[in-house]
């Protein structure tokens, strides 16, 4: 009997972990998309998602229906991502990766400041995309929201995989990553493909933002998520899309389980406010033991 109760508790934690992991996975995919196409870690990814979430909130405040606002936000995020690449990243395209990373940090400040400037610092409330009502599956209470988030994450990852594998644009984007010079000779618009990568990343991030935002959010709500997404992406291998998804899901489950060991009957647990340091520990361990992560390609550098 005790065992059964523990099992249900454990299963709940796992599903909850998969749900938060799914959100990290979308942001991690966005990071990987940009990393693969431009070799840059986009520190502004979280703030881009924060900004678009505020846009969605503003749209709802102006009387647009929730789903209409969501659709518009994803579209605006896509266009905005392309615009950012064209205007801000393009001029430093050939600069060292470090320079570009610093530019994305500038973008971080810019978006963060803009969100404070346009929308006041108070907490904002946005309804959830899914009902939070629990359903019982095999004796385990699972909220519909968690299931919905997992479904959205899986759908987003699948769509992206289909785009890259089965469409001409996807093929062109992969070609640009593999060999920009040859791609250019074959008539692929390299610059636009990179911009498209930014657009897709921003759109993915905006979904992650919307899923994180309910019930309430403020200007800093995506900052921890960004660290979790980094941790997930590194765990999976920062240049692997599959790795980003698997790594983030694992991380979500891991964090949920280690912070609820006591409810599982161990009498001891890791404090919930140590989630961020735990993610840091994951990043450090992976980078020190196996920098290429679970699915990434080992880097061989040539001087």
């Amino acid at each position: 009997m005790v065992f059964a109760a523990d099992w249900a508790g454990f299963a709940q934690q796992v599903v909850g972990g998969l749900a938060s992991g799914g959100i990290y996975a979308m942001l991690a995919l966005a990071l990987v998309l940009i990393y693969r196409s431009t070799g840059v870690v986009n520190f502004a990814q979280g703030e881009m998602a924060m900004f678009t979430t505020f846009l969605a909130w503003a749209l709802v405040q102006h009387g647009v229906g929730y789903w209409g606002a969501v659709a518009l936000t994803v579209l605006i995020a896509f266009a905005g991502g392309i615009a950012l690449e064209r205007v801000i990243i393009r001029p430093v395209e050939r600069a060292p990766a470090l320079t570009i990373a610093i530019v994305t940090l500038g973008l971080f400040f810019l978006l963060n400041g803009a969100a404070f400037w346009i929308w006041s610092p108070e907490q904002k409330y946005l309804r959830s995309a899914f009902s939070t009502r629990p359903v019982e599956i095999a004796g385990v209470q699972i909220s519909i929201q968690d299931l919905g988030v997992i479904a959205v994450a899986v759908a987003a990852a699948t769509l992206l995989a289909v785009l890259f594998r089965f469409t001409k644009v996807g093929l062109a984007m992969r070609a640009v990553v593999a060999n920009p010079d040859s791609s250019r000779l074959l008539g692929i618009r390299v610059g636009w493909m990179l911009a498209l990568g930014w657009g897709l990343a921003a759109a993915l991030g905006s979904v992650a933002g919307l899923l994180t935002a309910s019930p309430s959010f403020d200007q800093s709500f995506m900052q921890p998520v960004l660290l979790y997404a980094f941790a997930g992406a590194i765990l999976g291998g920062i240049d692997s899309a599959l790795g980003a998804v698997v790594g983030s899901l694992l991380l979500g489950v891991f964090l949920n389980v280690v912070t609820s060991l006591d409810t599982l009957g161990l009498g001891w647990t890791i404090d919930n406010d140590l989630r961020l340091p735990a993610a840091l520990a994951v990043i450090l361990l992976v980078l020190l033991i196996r920098p290429s992560g679970l699915f990434g390609t080992a880097q061989v550098t040539r001087a």
Binding site: V41, A101, I102, F109
Partner: protein
Amino acid sequence: MKAVARNAVRVLLIGVAIAVMIVLPSYVSDFHSRDLAQAGVFFIAIVGLNIVTGYAGQISLGHGALMAIGGYTTANLVAHHGLRDVWTIPLAGLLTGVIGLLVGLPALRLSGLYLALATFGLSVAMPSILKHFSGVTGGDLGLRLVEEAPDKITGLSGTVTIWGYTLTQNHFLYYLTWSIALVLLVAAWALLRSGTGRAFRAIRDSELAAESFGVNRALYKTLAFGISGFYAGVAGSLLVVSAEIVNPLSFTFLLSITLLVGTVVGGLGSLSGMIVGAFFLEYLPDLSDRVSRAPGVASIVYGAVIILVMIALPGGAGGALKRFSEPLTTRLYTRSQ
């Protein structure tokens, strides 16, 4: 001839700068000298950050976290162990230097963006870590030195008397910060001109080439982090000495990024540029407040400046200074040679 002339100009400029720094508090309000002291804190921190990022080429987004260690060392020693605040400054520097060495260890295996990510993680996680060890750090509330050890704060009564001179507390903080800053600047300058500095630059420009010339990559990378940590620790300590209060939110990861902004604006790999970077960090929020009091304006300007500097002037203020000064000065002495 060239070297003599150049050095003469340099010594003159430095002399003038020091003279200005000494008399400056007499010309500004008492309260304003505290702002100037704050600029000195930024100066020390970004000189340290520049050693590891600008000269040794190892990006660090974790210097806010290192400052936190220095700041908390001071706060803890004063509040719980009854040390006088100013004597904790070197201890804070040393302890943070050791922590810096530890941070440098992962840097041996990580380079570039991975290091950026790891140090970014450190500064994002730091406030949670500080909250967790509440026995040492006072948890969420932090440590309030004014209440816990008022007799250990130098100048709390309003004035400080040193060698017969009586200073207001704000003037004392100003002179304290900037004399430490001057000493540390000279130390950094000497270090970077020595073989160690050359090894740093060699690693920055090409790790492989440096190693094949016999530069001990592991030693110098860790050393750069250690020294840089010492600077960050002293800066964090001074911050707490002047604020008299510390809590986990004093050192968010935004501080780490802000420090990087200051270093970039001042010029990576330029020590003299750091003075521009420090004043930029200290006065930009004030300036933007004057333009608009709306929240977020300072961040917008920070962001815009950093992007514009990286696009148009990757060398920062120091690089620009060099570019403008070089043609004229070279012309001046090439004839006499």
